[in-house]
């Protein structure tokens, strides 16, 4: 694997991190496996694409995508998931049904064509890094991934909300008993997690492009990340994203048609020894 491919793997890992960190936040705190996360990613990408092409501003596209997807997340959480709280299986299957609806809705609105979010002028072209010429947009994605990691780390470890989220992951009932409105913390986490999916959609939409089955592809990668990293752990998502991103690139280089298979082997081996993932804890 040369430097160029290594960078490809790292930038893909950064995108995966942004998407999967939202997934694992929701999974860890609310115990909700939100299988609509991939659809939220795709929706965010489409909304971001439309806004970015209409207004000509990538930043506006990003903000719009995050707000729109957070709003969809609000509908999903408050409108539907509230009826099946406490039943993990029903939540998962309900979110899957919601994913189908969203996916089909996207097909109605944007059609089946493939779109690529326009890259802002400042990030076009390339930069010379480690002796290779590399697209600067992908370096921007890498930087965003690192930034999101840092921001989430600070949020979780340095703020009151973060402390509440961490406490909620360990024991939600105890937090509620000490006078905190845990429902509100849950909702904020759900919106934050959804918004991250939307942001991921815009970022990924600019270099992976957006098409009707992109949601399933990003979902299976996110699942792999969370299965490897373990539920609700930020470091776990980081490590999981790096592993999956690099393995996927390695797979594409060595066995282009069977790249999917290459993330499967390590995942399988890991599960044999740690069924809860690298950083997962039993509850």
């Amino acid at each position: 694997m040369n430097i160029f491919q290594l960078l490809n793997g790292l930038t893909f890992a950064a995108l995966l991190f942004v998407v999967a960190s939202g997934f694992t936040l929701i999974f860890g705190l609310l115990r909700i496996v939100n299988l609509a996360h991939g659809a939220l990613y795709l929706f965010g990408g489409y909304v971001g694409f439309t806004l970015a092409t209409r207004t000509g501003s990538f930043v506006l596209g990003g903000i719009g995508a995050m707000i729109a997807v957070a709003a969809i997340g609000f509908v999903l959480d408050q409108g539907l998931l509230r009826f099946v709280r406490g039943n993990e299986l029903r939540q998962v299957l309900l979110s899957l049904g919601f994913a189908f609806v969203l996916n089909d809705l996207a097909l109605v609105i944007w059609g089946g064509d493939s779109f690529t979010v326009p890259i802002p002028q400042a990030l076009r072209g390339g930069l010379r890094v480690f002796g290779v010429f590399y697209p600067s947009y992908r370096l921007f994605v890498l930087a965003t991934g690192i930034f999101v990691f840092a921001a989430l780390w600070l949020l979780l470890n340095r703020t009151r909300l973060g402390a509440l989220i961490r406490a909620g992951v360990d024991d939600a009932e105890m937090v509620e008993a000490s006078g905190v409105n845990i429902r509100r913390v849950f909702l904020v986490t759900f919106l934050l997690g959804s918004a991250l999916a939307g942001l991921g959609g815009l970022m990924g939409g600019a270099f992976l492009s957006l098409y009707p089955s992109a949601d399933a592809e990003i979902l299976v990668f996110s699942l792999a990340v969370v299965i490897i990293g373990g539920r609700g752990s930020l470091v776990g998502v980081g490590v999981g994203s790096l592993l999956v991103g690099l393995l996927n690139t390695l797979g594409q280089v060595m066995f282009p048609e069977l790249a999917y298979f290459v993330i499967f082997g390590p995942m399988a081996m890991l599960l044999a020894f740690r069924p809860l993932g690298l950083f997962g804890r039993a509850t």
Binding site: E88, L89, G97, F98, F100, L223, A259, F261
Partner: protein
């Protein structure tokens, strides 16, 4: 162990009590009459109901009796379809040999899935089977040389004697009866009872000395083999296979049929399959938005009737006298 039990009851026919045997015979006889009454198109739909009913039953063996809902059975089903079409179209095998090869392939894939999945339970099991199924889908989509990629593969899979709608329907019905009977015996066997024990309390079964992992592994593999039978029949039904046969939507439809019929009812799978396929048929006549309707149905069932149609009816019937 079962023999003294059978003797203590009045009479039993192939393990069924008298009334149950009569009900089963009536249902099969009624089903066998359908080609006489229905149009060719409707017979095709009935064939599909039987095939998907088998898929739903195979999922129910795990979900209803071992407490593990699999989202990967559509992929196992699809692998069998792919292998059957590939074996007849590319390798030139005879239909029966291709059928057998398809079921064996599905069983092997199920065994690999099982090896990985038996250590997990609850949501993790769901996630893992989902991810494994998606990998199969990804391979079918990308490995263009073998699978034909997005275009799929076509092949004359159906044996010459089963070319008419009615003949094929009867063959599938015979298969469905055999599969139903086998699965019914399977879940009532001591092995099936052990699975139920694992569903109710894994730790208790473990401390009683049962090897939980091995039981789940065998349960999963058997369930996958029957999903493979359904998949092989589906290949013969369509003479065609494409990535949508292995897609997540396939697994989801199977699970939805199983839940709609009622988890743990086994034969409810046919009721669920009939309900969903009829719905699909009606909806497709009016709109192309089948996926949206499927998703909405899923959401509504999860919120209002998670115990399924059969279960819901049972609840409503028992509530009435009060």
């Amino acid at each position: 162990m079962t023999i003294p039990q059978a003797q203590s009851r009045t009479r039993s026919y192939a393990g069924m009590s008298g009334p149950a045997a009569i009900t089963a015979l009536t249902a099969v006889a009624a089903a066998a009459m359908l080609p006489v009454l229905l149009s060719n198109y409707q017979v095709g739909l009935a064939t599909e109901v039987l095939i998907f009913g088998m898929l739903a039953m195979s999922i129910d063996v795990l979900a209803g009796f071992a407490g593990r809902t699999s989202l990967g059975h559509g992929a196992i089903f699809g692998v069998s379809s792919y292998v059957v079409v590939y074996a007849t179209a590319q390798l030139g095998l005879q239909p029966p040999a291709a059928f057998a090869l398809g079921v064996v392939a599905a069983t092997l894939v199920a065994a690999v899935f099982a090896l990985l999945a038996v250590r997990t339970s609850g949501v993790y099991f769901l996630l893992l089977t989902l991810a494994l199924g998606m990998i199969v889908w990804g391979i079918c989509l990308r490995w263009t040389q073998v699978t034909g990629g997005e275009n799929g593969m076509r092949g004359d899979v159906r044996p010459a004697s089963l070319l008419t709608h009615a003949a094929f329907y009867w063959a599938v019905l015979a298969g469905a009866v055999a599969v139903s009977y086998t699965l019914w015996r399977f879940v009532r066997s001591p092995f099936g009872l052990t699975l139920r024990g694992i569903r109710d309390s894994e730790s208790r079964m473990r401390s009683l000395g049962y090897n939980v992992s091995v039981h789940l592994f065998i349960g999963f593999t058997v369930s996958g083999a029957f999903a493979g039978v359904a998949g092989a029949l589906y290949a013969m039904f369509n003479n065609f296979v494409s990535p949508s046969t292995v897609a997540l939507a396939q697994s989801v439809e199977g699970v939805l049929m199983m839940i709609a019929g009622g988890v743990g009812t086994l034969f409810g799978g046919f009721v669920g399959a009939a309900a969903i396929i009829m719905l699909e048929n009606v909806v497709s006549a009016h709109t192309e938005r089948w996926l949206m309707v499927l998703g909405t149905t899923f959401i509504l069932i999860m919120i209002f009737a998670p115990e399924g149609i059969v279960g819901k009816l049972r609840v409503m019937l028992t509530r009435k006298p009060r």
